[in-house]
Amino acid sequence: MTGQPEAAPVPDPARPPRRDAWDKVTGRARYASDAAMANMAHAAVVRADRAHACIVAINADEARRAPGVIGVITADDLGDLGRRFGHIVCDHPILAEDKVRYYGEPVAAVVAETPHEAADAAERVWVDYEDLEALTTAADALASETLIHEESYAGPERGFLGVKPKADTDNAAHRAELGWGDVDAALAAAEAVVETSAAFPLVYGYAMETYNALADWQPGGLHVVSTAQHPLMVRKELARIFSLPLAAVRVEVPYIGGGYGSKSYTKLEPLAAAASWATGRPVRVDTDVEGAMHTTRADGAHVTVRTGFDSEGRITARAIDIVFDTGAYADNSPLVLTKSVNRCFGPYRVPNLRVRGTAVYTNTTPASSYRGFGAPQGALAGEMNMDMAADRLGIDPTELRRRNLLEPGGTVISGKRGLDADLTADLDAVAAELDRHAGRGHEPGVRRGRAVAVTASDAGASPISTAQVRMHADGSVTLLTSSTEMGQGSRTALAQIVARQMGVAAAAVAVGQSDTLYTPFEWTTGASRTTTVVGLAVKAACEDLWRKLRAMAAESAGIDPDEATSGGGSIQVAGADLAPAAVIREWFGADAGEAVGIGVVRGHGETALLPPFWEIGAVGVEVAVDETTGEVTVEHLVTVGDVGHAIEPDLVKGQDLGAATQGLGIALWEEMVYEGEQLTNPNLIEYRVPRFTDMPRRITSVLAERGDGAGPYGAKGAGEGALNPVPAAVAAAVGRAVGVWPTELPLTPARVWALLRSAAETEAAGLAKPPTAAGGAAPSTVRGPAAE
């Protein structure tokens, strides 16, 4: 089960390192957490110590008198600033107003000369509460008549991507539905109906750089440095809160110390900015891990899937119910729910479908985007359901999927882009790798299980992107984009696109950091969009630059612009081949000047049809379960990165392994645990993330490059895909190893041990079947999974 681990892949010495490598290995890389401003003060956040309560009074007198304190800010001190933020539902107070809605909610900010003084004084802010019924689970919140939000927040600020405000009568933050055909009739007529319910835990993204923001308010302007993945989204909210023009709000985002979606949209920026406005000083707000866990998490979910099959194992119908635990404020969860609804039924031919999703407000940390964006939640039940069905029908689980997978070009959802991937080939690649290294032999006290899982996500990559390329008088190029660099290596990949398009070396391409004062508009950095969508904008900017260069060359030569051509990295004018740099110098009449190209992507042309691409997840795992302890070891992880074209293959593989590892974390260890009103494990000891020694014993990373994407050179996005199916695959593999299907994650040793006990009781009662090969055919009469 253990033993000497397999060798990791060897780097390709011919490839230069990523362009951020020097910065990052020397410690010189600048993050928001390193940012400072002259005369900077520090804010400490006073957080609610109960989940749901009216604020009766806040007494900050003692804190105001404490050493070093500049001011204490509560909701009452915000003057005529906007009080709330929230890009979909404007429900999130900068500081709690009349009541608090979750344990850890910011109630006041203490601004002092040093972080220690601020933290000390924050202990001396006294808040009187009157408790309300605390609703810490979605089931409780749906059942209760107590409303977490009395308002629906309807008004001019509402509405985003078709999300409607909530009803005033319940705790549902958002509902979403999808379907076609006659599901009830199809289920009634099905040869077999297989039902699966699974609970997806509350997960904290744990970006190692915790949320932080530094803000400097001055009359008529605001400058913010923060960890925001989407600086332009933050700029928009700050402009509204401070009644400033967009141009007067500068959001600067240096390197981000991990994002994974958890830093999408507005977090601490309004608080830092309000503190700066209130005190007249630049103010930093930092969080520790506890504060970060009280800032944002991913949506927890209960999902129930019922699937009807015909006698050949073809899906006749799927009925799926999704209930999200969305926490105290909506943040991006309405959109995450909508995506989960689109993704939960899998890339299969489903002639009759009914999906109902509800995102429920609860008195817990607000949930929002996290890598996978609703896909892992849906796939956990959806893909485990396929494994359970395989057992019931006596069909190999890989074969069952093959019989149902959509073909390339097939319709996942009517009106959307056809499937731009060959999933059967991807799945076959996974299965072949998994089988090739299948654990052999019998080891006493160890049970093994294997499983595959497949997902396809309608990438939420809204096609709104602009890029600017500036060619200098020596032919080198500066690329400006507001796409943020959080480790995915986008600056490296985008520079490659510029180099290819302009015929220059990648070393002659500089890529700046995102800073809304200088860099052009970008919708978001999320949904694995950058290489595809920003890549297209960069490509278009390069084409525009060539157009400008041709016009400049023609003007210098005194000919019509149409008579100049370009190709092979140069401009052809009147039989002469001119280097772009020579064209620029000649046009300016000096060794100076530059030519600028602008590229735009919008819902038009190649990107008119949504989604811009389907993000594929195709993985397999083999696990070993220790019968004595319930401990699960990942023996083999297989990922197939179906990315169309890998501009930087090592970086794509890095994304796949990183994403899959986060999936393993959700499957085996990660869970925010509430006991009563309080989060009980707000630290990295009790919230356990994957460690070095948890690394799978064998890792196989395959790239599928079929040029079938809409992005540059046939590329599609990567980054989320390899996470999405992993929790489902691990759950199914553990189910096969143990002999009982899990119903909740993470599969901690305690939970697996309980599953083993339950399997033993079933066996003792004489209900068990003979063990079959993991992943192999099983008799169709037994409820539990096949054990090896």
Partner: protein, 172 residues
Amino acid sequence: MTEPRPPEGEGPAPAATSVVIAFRLNGRRVETLAPVRLTAAELLRDQLGLTGTKVSCGIQVCGACTVLVDGAPASSCCLLAVDLDGTEVVTVEGLAQGRELHPVQEAFAAANALQCGYCTPGFVMMTVALLAADPRPDRAAVREWLDGNLCRCTGYAPIETAVILAAERTAP
């Protein structure tokens, strides 16, 4: 809400809450006034401007803040600055020789052993300590040594590659 600063009380002057410490930092002598509650990480980052050392978990679990104190790896987030008095401290800023990267830094860059980079200084420092103790570690030893450093981006395999690569380049 902003108020004039209230007087901090009369009576005898408060006792000192800082002490002067002296230590060697990346080969150079530093003498500074350190508040007794200040952590080594705060001293390095906020007072001395060496922001390469990162703080993440704050409780000695993640390894991001690893520095070498008298050659041994230490979590600077949980070490008081005053305890650096009389020691020899090396941070990530102290590894490169002029323009020449340290072989461990070279190897991390070559192997793409980083993504967001926030854990990288800590991993680099722990690897320097590992190779000093065991110049030819096998993979199991690498995993054991680096189990106290968290990385959320890479899935660890590229880091393991980097460490083996660094060992190959530096082992006697």
